[in-house]
Symmetry: C2
Subunit: 129 residues, 2 copies
DNA sequence: CTACAAGTTAGAGTTCACTCTAAGTCAATA
DNA sequence: TATTGACTTAGAGTGAACTCTAACTTGTAG
C-alpha cells in the first residue's frame, strides 16, 4: 500500500510516517519504480505495536533502541524482553499514580457538588423575597 | 517557608516554582523585607493538587484556566467542577487505553519468554557434543 | 569582616515530538 | 495536452514545558 492509504489506517500523517522512517522507527520502505514508498502488512502490525508503546508514554529514544534491536534479528530477543519488562514496570507505576490521582479528582468534584448544592439551599432561603 | 524549602518538599526546582508564578499557576507569593518569596501551607496544598492534574496529563493551559477561576472566587465553582469532570473523562479513557496496551505488552513479553525457552531447548539438543 | 550559599530579575536556551515548507517528480483524468 | 493531486527530498519551524544564564542582592557561619 502507498503512504496515503497508511495514513488513513494509522491516523499518522505522511510527514510523521516519513519522519519515523528517517529516525529509524520504521525500516526503510520499498519504493515503487517512481520512488514512492510501498508498505506491507508487517509494517502496519509494527506500527500498531509502536502505537501501544507510545500510548504508554515510551520515549522515541527508547523506541528507536527497540526498533534497532528488532532489525538485528533474533539474537536480541532477550534484550528486547528486558527492555519491555523495564517499560512495563514504569507503566504499572504510572497506572497506579493515575488511579490515585483519579480518586483525588473524584473527591474534589464531590466537594464542588456539595458546595454548589449548599449555595443553592442558601439562595433558596435568602431569595424568598 | 522560603523557596529552597519548598523545592525539597515538592521536588520542583526553584526555576520551575518561579516559572509557575510567572505564568499564573501559583498566586504571587508574599515577599520578605528583602524581596524573597515566603510560601504558606495553602500553597503547598495547591501544588499537591496541581501535581495530581499534572500526573493525569492536564496541560499547563488548562491548569492556568483552572487556577484563574480559583482566583476569581466561589462564583466559578460550577465552571471548575465542569472543567474537572471533563478532565476526569479524558483520564478515564486514557486509563483504559493504558490497561489495554499493558496487556499487549504482557503478551509480547510472554512471546519472547516462549521463544527464548525454545531456543534454549534447541541449543541444549544441538550442543550435546 | 569575609565567604559563600541562597535568593532576586529578565530573558535566552533546550528537548521532545512532531509539523510544515519549498521545490520538484509522477500518474491519471478531462 | 493540461491540470490535479499524491508523492519525493532536505531542511526549517512550532509549541509545550521547562531549564538555565547573567548579573545582582541578601543572610548567615566562621
Amino acid at each position: 500500500m502507498k503512504i496515503g492509504e497508511l495514513t488513513k489506517i494509522t491516523k499518522l500523517s505522511s510527514h510523521t510516517l516519513r519522519y519515523y522512517e528517517r529516525i529509524g522507527l520504521l525500516p526503510r520502505a520499498h519504493r515503487s519504480s517512481s520512488g514512492h514508498r510501498i508498505y506491507d502488512e508487517a509494517t502496519l502490525t509494527w506500527l500498531e505495536f509502536l502505537g501501544r508503546l507510545k500510548a504508554t508514554d515510551m520515549s522515541i529514544k527508547e523506541m528507536q533502541l527497540y526498533a534497532k534491536m528488532r532489525q538485528n534479528g533474533p539474537s536480541t530477543e532477550l534484550e528486547r524482553q528486558k527492555l519491555l519488562e523495564h517499560h512495563r514496570l514504569k507503566v504499572r507505576i504510572k497506572l497506579a499514580e493515575i488511579k490515585t490521582s483519579l480518586s483525588v479528582l473524584d473527591c474534589k468534584i464531590d466537594t464542588y457538588a456539595e458546595s454548589i448544592k449548599q449555595k443553592g439551599k442558601t439562595n433558596g432561603r435568602s431569595n424568598h423575597k
